[in-house]
C-alpha cells in the first residue's frame, strides 16, 4: 500500500492523545479526597497501567478512528506489491525491459522511461523479484534475480543510458523469456518500457512470448516529427585524383509535415557544397553534391542537414573516402594462346578502376611479390610455370586463377603442379559434339562471395551462360567446388594454400568454349573473382551503429599486433597498445573513429541506423499479433493511463473516511454509555 500524501501520516501521532487521556490525564482529573490511605496499598506500576486500560474498547475505537482519518488524508493506493504481501501466491517475477534505442533519447522520453521503471521497482512486493534488461538492437541483462529493489534502483541510475542503437523487440523479448525461465515465481511478467516504434518490429518467424507470461507495455513515446539523412551513396575507395561520382543523399521527413532546409557537404571540415531541399508531400527528397578533389590517404566527410530537431544524431551523416593506388593483376599466357582481351576489358571497364591489368608472356617474371601483385591469372598455359615460384607466391598471400582451355596439357599439370592445383585434369569435354549443343552451370554456391551478388535476381545470368566445351576435373579432397556444370563436373574449384588462394576455372576466358564473355554477368563475375582471389575487400564508406570493425582489416596488413589504438569520435581511447588485440570491435557511437596502427592512421565512419530515425509508432494490436499469443495478457499502460489508474486506485480514501466516521460514531455511543455511568456512580458515592 502506498500513500500519495505520506506527510499526512505524521498525523498518526495523534493516537497518543487518547492514550495519554486514558493513561495520564485521567489520573490527574479524578483525584478524590479520602479520609485516610492507611488501608490502601500501592499498586505495582505494570498492574496499574494494565488496569487503567479499563476502557480498552473505547481507546481502541478512538485510535482506530484517528488512524482511519489519517489514512484517508494520506490518499492510500493499494498496489500489487501490497496484495502480494497479503497473498504470497501472487508473487511475481518481473523482467523490466527498458528500450534505450536512439528514438528513446529525446527528453522527456528517457526520464519518463526511468521514472516508469522506478515506479515498477517501487511496486514490487517482498516476495517479488525483478530483473532489468536494457535493449536496443541487442539486449543487455543488467541485474540478477537476487538483486534487492534498492540495488535495482542503483543499477537503473548508474547503468542505463540511452544509446544510438536501433530497436529490436524480438531480441529483447527473447532474452526476457530466457531470463524468466530461471525465475522462481509462478506468475511471470514482462514490463516493457518503450516508445512502441514501428521500426522495432521484425519478423518473429513464428516465435512468440509463452502464454504463461503476461506482457505489460508502458508506452512513453510521443508523436514528433523527425528529419534525418536516410541514405548516402558514397564509395570509400577512390583511385583517381577527384571523387569520380556525384554523391547522392536522401533526406526523409514526415509526409504530413513537409519541411524545408539546407544540406551541406563537408570534407575534412571544409565546406564543399550546399543545397536546399523541401521534403514535400512524399516526405523525402534526393540531393546531389558535386565531385571534389582528394588528397592522398583517408579523408573524412560529413553531410549535415538543417534545421536540427530532437534527434540531432541523425541529422549528420559521416563517411570516409580513401584515395588508393589501383591493384596490379598479372595475366600470364602463351604467346600463341587465345586472347585475354575479354578479361582485360572486363577488369578495365569504367572509371575509378581498382585494378591495373598487366599482360605477360610465359614464363613471366622471375619474382612476384604478393603485395605488389595480389593476383596472377594463368590463361590457358600449355604447361604450368615454375612451381616453386608460384607456390611461395600463393603461400605468401597471392591469389592465383588458373583458366583451363584448349591449349592445356593435362600431363604437364599433373607432373609439375600436382601439389599446387586443387583439381586433377581428366579430359576435355566437347559438349557440342555430343547430342546437345551446350551445357550450363546449374549448381552454384550462391552464398559464396563470388556469386553472392547474383543470388537474388541475377541467377539467370549465370545459369543461362552456354558452355560448349570444358575440362572434366576431379576436385581434390581439400578443395571446394563453387559451381558445377549440368553434367556434375566442377566448373569452379577453390583451395586455400598458406595465406593465398588458388582457383581453377574449367572453361575459357574468350568466347571459343563459351559465350560467357558476351554475357552481362561476365564483368561482375570476373570483378568478384579478382577481388576474392586477390583478397581485396572493399571497405564501405560508412558503417552503422553496432556493426563490427575487424581490427585485422583496419590495421597493418603485415600482421603486426599490439601497436594500434582505437579512438572514438569523442577523442577517447577505446582500446589500445597494451591490450590484447581483439578480432572485432562493435562500434557504438556515430562519428569518425580513428584507428592508429604502427604504420598509418585510418578512419572509420559510423552512422545511426536510418530505420531507427523513423519514429512511426506501431499499434498495440499489431504488437500483440506479432509477439504475443492470444491467451496471454497484454496491457498497454501508458504514462497518462498510469496516472489515471493510480487516481482510480487511490480513490478509496473516501472509504477510509467513511469507516473512520462510523468508528467515531460508535465511539460516541460507547463513550456516552460508559462515561456517564462511571461519573454518576462516583457522584452518588461522594
Amino acid at each position: 500500500m502506498q500513500f500519495l500524501a505520506p506527510l499526512f501520516l505524521i498525523g498518526a501521532l495523534a493516537i497518543g492523545v487518547p492514550i495519554f487521556l486514558h493513561l495520564v490525564h485521567r489520573e490527574r482529573t479524578k483525584r478524590t479526597p479520602f479520609a485516610s490511605l492507611m488501608f490502601i496499598r500501592k499498586i505495582p506500576f505494570k498492574e496499574l497501567r494494565r488496569r487503567r486500560l479499563t476502557h480498552l474498547f473505547l481507546l481502541f475505537l478512538r485510535c482506530l478512528g484517528i488512524l482511519l482519518l489519517v489514512f484517508a488524508f494520506g490518499r492510500p493506493v493499494i498496489t500489487g506489491a501490497w496484495l502480494n504481501q497479503v497473498n504470497p501466491l501472487l508473487a511475481r517475477s518481473v523482467v523490466i525491459l527498458i528500450d534505450h534505442s536512439l528514438s528513446m533519447s529525446p527528453q522527456p522520453i528517457w526520464d519518463t522511461a526511468l521514472q516508469a521503471a522506478e515506479e515498477k521497482i517501487q511496486s514490487l512486493g517482498q516476495a517479488d523479484e525483478a530483473l532489468i534488461i536494457q535493449f536496443g538492437e541487442s539486449a543487455e541483462v543488467l541485474s540478477q534475480w537476487e538483486e534487492s529493489p534498492q540495488q535495482l534502483r542503483e543499477i537503473l541510475r548508474q547503468r542505463t543510458t540511452p544509446s544510438f542503437e536501433a530497436t529490436s523487440y524480438l531480441e529483447a523479448l527473447r532474452v526476457a523469456v530466457d531470463q524468466l525461465e530461471a525465475a522462481r515465481n509462478i506468475k511471470k511478467e514482462i514490463y516493457l518500457i518503450t516508445d512502441l516504434q514501428q521500426a522495432g518490429m521484425a519478423a518473429s518467424a513464428g516465435w512468440r512470448v509463452p502464454g504463461d507470461i503476461s506482457v505489460e507495455i508502458e508506452n512513453v513515446g510521443r508523436e514528433t516529427p523527425n528529419l534525418f539523412v536516410e541514405e548516402v551513396r558514397v564509395e570509400r575507395a577512390v583511385f583517381t585524383d577527384q571523387y569520380p561520382h556525384t554523391i547522392l543523399a536522401r533526406v526523409r521527413g514526415n509526409p504530413q509535415q513537409p519541411e524545408k532546409g539546407e544540406a551541406q557537404l563537408f570534407v575534412e571540415g571544409n565546406l564543399i557544397d550546399r543545397t536546399t531541399f523541401d521534403t514535400g508531400s512524399e516526405g523525402t527528397v534526393n540531393l546531389t553534391f558535386k565531385p571534389f578533389d582528394l588528397e592522398e590517404g583517408v579523408s573524412r566527410g560529413t553531410i549535415v542537414i538543417e534545421p536540427t530537431d530532437e534527434l540531432p544524431e541523425d541529422n549528420v551523416y559521416y563517411f570516409v573516402v580513401e584515395k588508393q593506388a589501383p591493384r596490379r593483376i598479372l595475366v600470364l599466357q602463351d604467346r600463341q594462346a587465345s586472347s585475354a582481351f575479354y578479361l582485360e576489358s572486363a577488369l578495365s571497364a569504367g572509371e575509378n578502376l581498382p585494378f591495373a591489368v598487366e599482360m605477360s608472356v610465359f614464363p613471366g617474371p622471375e619474382q612476384i611479390d604478393p603485395i605488389d601483385t595480389p593476383l596472377v591469372v594463368l590463361n590457358d598455359l600449355r604447361q604450368p610455370p615454375r612451381l616453386s615460384l608460384f607456390k611461395s607466391y600463393v603461400e605468401g598471400g597471392g591469389g592465383l586463377i588458373v583458366v583451363l582451355s584448349n591449349r592445356v596439357l593435362a600431363e604437364a599439370y599433373h607432373r609439375q603442379w600436382d601439389t599446387l592445383l586443387p583439381v586433377e585434369l581428366k579430359e576435355r569435354n566437347f559438349v557440342r559434339q555430343e547430342s546437345k549443343p551446350f551445357t550450363s552451370i546449374t549448381q552454384v554456391n550462391w552464398e559464396h562471395p563470388i556469386f553472392r551478388i547474383f543470388q537474388d535476381v541475377h541467377k539467370a545470368a549465370i545459369a543461362s551462360t552456354q558452355f560448349y566445351s570444358y575440362w572434366r576435373l576431379t576436385a581434390k579432397p581439400d578443395a571446394t567446388i563453387l559451381a558445377r556444370f549440368n553434367e556434375g563436373d566442377p566448373a569452379l574449384v577453390e583451395q586455400s594454400l598458406g595465406e593465398g588462394r588458388v582457383l581453377v576455372f574449367a572453361s575459357s576466358l574468350d568466347p571459343v568454349w563459351t559465350d560467357f564473355p558476351l554475357r552481362s554477368a561476365y564483368v561482375p563475375f570476373w570483378y568478384r573473382m579478382a577481388q576474392y582471389a586477390g583478397r581485396w575487400q572493399s571497405t564501405p564508406a560508412a558503417l552503422q551503429i553496432n556493426q563490427v570493425l575487424s581490427v585485422d582489416s583496419s590495421s597493418d596488413s603485415s600482421g603486426t599486433s599490439g601497436t594500434w589504438n582505437l579512438i572514438d569520435p569523442r577523442g577517447q581511447r577505446v582500446l589500445g597498445l597494451n591490450e590484447e588485440k581483439p578480432g572485432f570491435i562493435q562500434l557504438k557511437m556515430p562519428g569518425h573513429y580513428e584507428v592508429r596502427s604502427n604504420k598509418k592512421t585510418d578512419w572509420v565512419a559510423v552512422n545511426t541506423p536510418p530505420h531507427e530515425s523513423d519514429l512511426s509508432p506501431v499499434a498495440i494490436e499489431e504488437f500483440q499479433a506479432v509477439f504475443v499469443p492470444l491467451e496471454a495478457r497484454v496491457e498497454e499502460v501508458g504514462f497518462e493511463q498510469s496516472v489515471q489508474e493510480k487516481d482510480r486506485q487511490q480513490s478509496l480514501w473516501w472509504l477510509f473516511l467513511l469507516v473512520g466516521a462510523a468508528v467515531f460514531m460508535a465511539e460516541w455511543v460507547v463513550a456516552n454509555r460508559t462515561r456517564p455511568q462511571a461519573e454518576l456512580q462516583r457522584e452518588s458515592q461522594l
Binding site: 479526597p33 479520602f34 485516610s36 490502601i40 488496569r51 462516583r682
Partner: protein, 300 residues
C-alpha cells in the same frame, strides 16, 4: 401531632443535620431516646444524699452546705447519689480525616452530635461533662462541670470545633492524661486511623488509672463499604498523599486491612475491658447512647 416513640428514637443524622441548634439536637436525641425506654434500667439515678466532700476550688459555691459550715466552720460540698461519682470526659478527634463525608453529615458532625447528646444525657443525670479536642496534640479543652450553664459552654465549644492536623491519638492521650486525674468515664470519639499496638498501650494506661473508656469508632459509609467502581486516585485528607485505587485490585485489600483493624481494636478493647462501638455516620445515635448508659450503669 402524636409521634410514636420509635419514630423519635431513631432520628436520622441527616435529619439532625438540618437542625442548626446543637442544643435542640442533643435534646431531641436524648429525650427521644429516653422516652423510648419503657423499662428503664437506669432507675437508680436520683438526688439522694450520698456524702459530704470538702470544698475544692472550682466547686460551685451554691453547693456548699452552710449548715455544716456553721457546725464545723469548714466548707463542705453536699454530694448526691447521681452526680458525685461520675465525670464524663468526651475526647474528640478533630484531625482532618474527620472532615470526610460522603453525605450531608461528616464524621466530625456526627461526632459533634454524639458529644452533644452525651453531654446532655450526662448533664441531665447531673454528671459532670467535659470536652477535650485533639489531633496529634490537645487542641482545646473544657473541664467537666455540673453547673447548669456548663452544657451551653460545651455546646458553644462543640460548634466552634474545626478540623486541624493529623491524627495521633496515642500522642494526644499521653499529653492530656494529666488533665484526667480522677476515675472518670472517658468517651473517645475518633476514626482511629492509628496503629493498634500503639493505641492499645495508651488505652491500657488510661484503664489502669481507673477510668472507664468507651471508644466510639466513627466511620463514613464510604469508608465501610468502599463503593468506588471506577479507577480513581485517592488523596489522603491529612497528608495529601495520593494513591491509585483500582477496584479489582484495591478493594479486597482495603476490606481486609479495615476489618483487621476493626477486629484488632475490638480485640484489644475486649482484652482490657474497654467498650467499643463502631458507628456508621448514616445510622442514628441511640446505639451510642445505649453503650454509654450501659457503662454508666456498670459503675453503680
Amino acid at each position: 401531632m402524636i409521634r410514636t416513640a420509635d419514630s423519635n428514637r431513631f432520628i436520622d443524622p441527616q435529619v439532625l443535620s438540618r437542625i442548626r441548634d446543637l442544643q435542640l439536637i442533643a435534646k431531641t436525641v436524648v429525650e427521644g431516646f429516653l422516652t423510648g425506654l419503657h423499662h428503664s434500667p437506669y432507675h437508680g439515678f436520683s438526688l439522694d444524699f450520698a456524702e459530704y466532700r470538702e470544698y475544692a476550688p472550682g466547686d460551685d459555691p451554691r453547693l456548699v452546705d452552710w449548715t455544716v459550715y456553721a457546725r464545723t466552720d469548714r466548707f463542705y460540698v453536699k454530694k448526691y447519689e447521681g452526680d458525685t461519682n461520675t465525670q464524663l470526659y468526651i475526647l474528640m478527634d478533630v484531625s482532618k480525616s474527620m472532615a470526610f463525608s460522603s453525605h450531608s453529615v461528616s464524621k466530625l458532625d456526627y461526632a459533634r452530635y454524639l458529644a452533644a447528646a452525651l453531654a446532655y444525657l450526662a448533664m441531665r443525670q447531673k454528671d459532670a461533662a467535659g470536652l477535650i479536642s485533639f489531633d496529634s496534640d490537645v487542641v482545646s479543652q473544657v473541664p467537666p462541670r455540673t453547673r447548669r450553664g456548663h452544657f451551653f459552654t460545651l455546646l458553644h465549644h462543640l460548634e466552634g470545633l474545626e478540623v486541624t492536623g493529623e491524627t495521633d491519638i496515642s500522642g494526644a492521650l499521653e499529653k492530656l492524661a494529666h488533665l484526667i486525674r480522677r476515675r472518670a468515664v472517658v468517651v473517645l470519639i475518633s476514626d482511629f486511623y492509628q496503629d493498634i499496638e500503639k493505641l492499645a498501650k495508651t488505652l491500657r494506661f488510661f484503664y489502669h488509672r481507673g477510668n472507664d473508656l468507651i471508644l466510639f469508632h466513627v466511620l463514613d459509609p464510604v469508608e465501610l463499604e468502599m463503593p468506588f467502581e471506577d479507577i480513581s486516585t485517592l488523596e489522603d485528607m491529612e497528608t495529601q498523599e495520593h494513591l491509585s485505587y483500582v477496584p479489582e485490585h484495591s478493594r479486597s485489600t482495603y476490606f481486609s486491612l479495615l476489618n483487621e483493624h476493626i477486629e484488632g481494636l475490638r480485640r484489644e478493647c475486649r482484652n482490657i475491658s474497654i467498650d467499643y462501638e463502631l458507628l456508621n455516620t448514616e445510622k442514628p445515635l441511640d446505639q451510642a447512647l445505649h453503650r454509654y448508659l450501659s457503662v454508666r450503669e456498670k459503675r453503680y
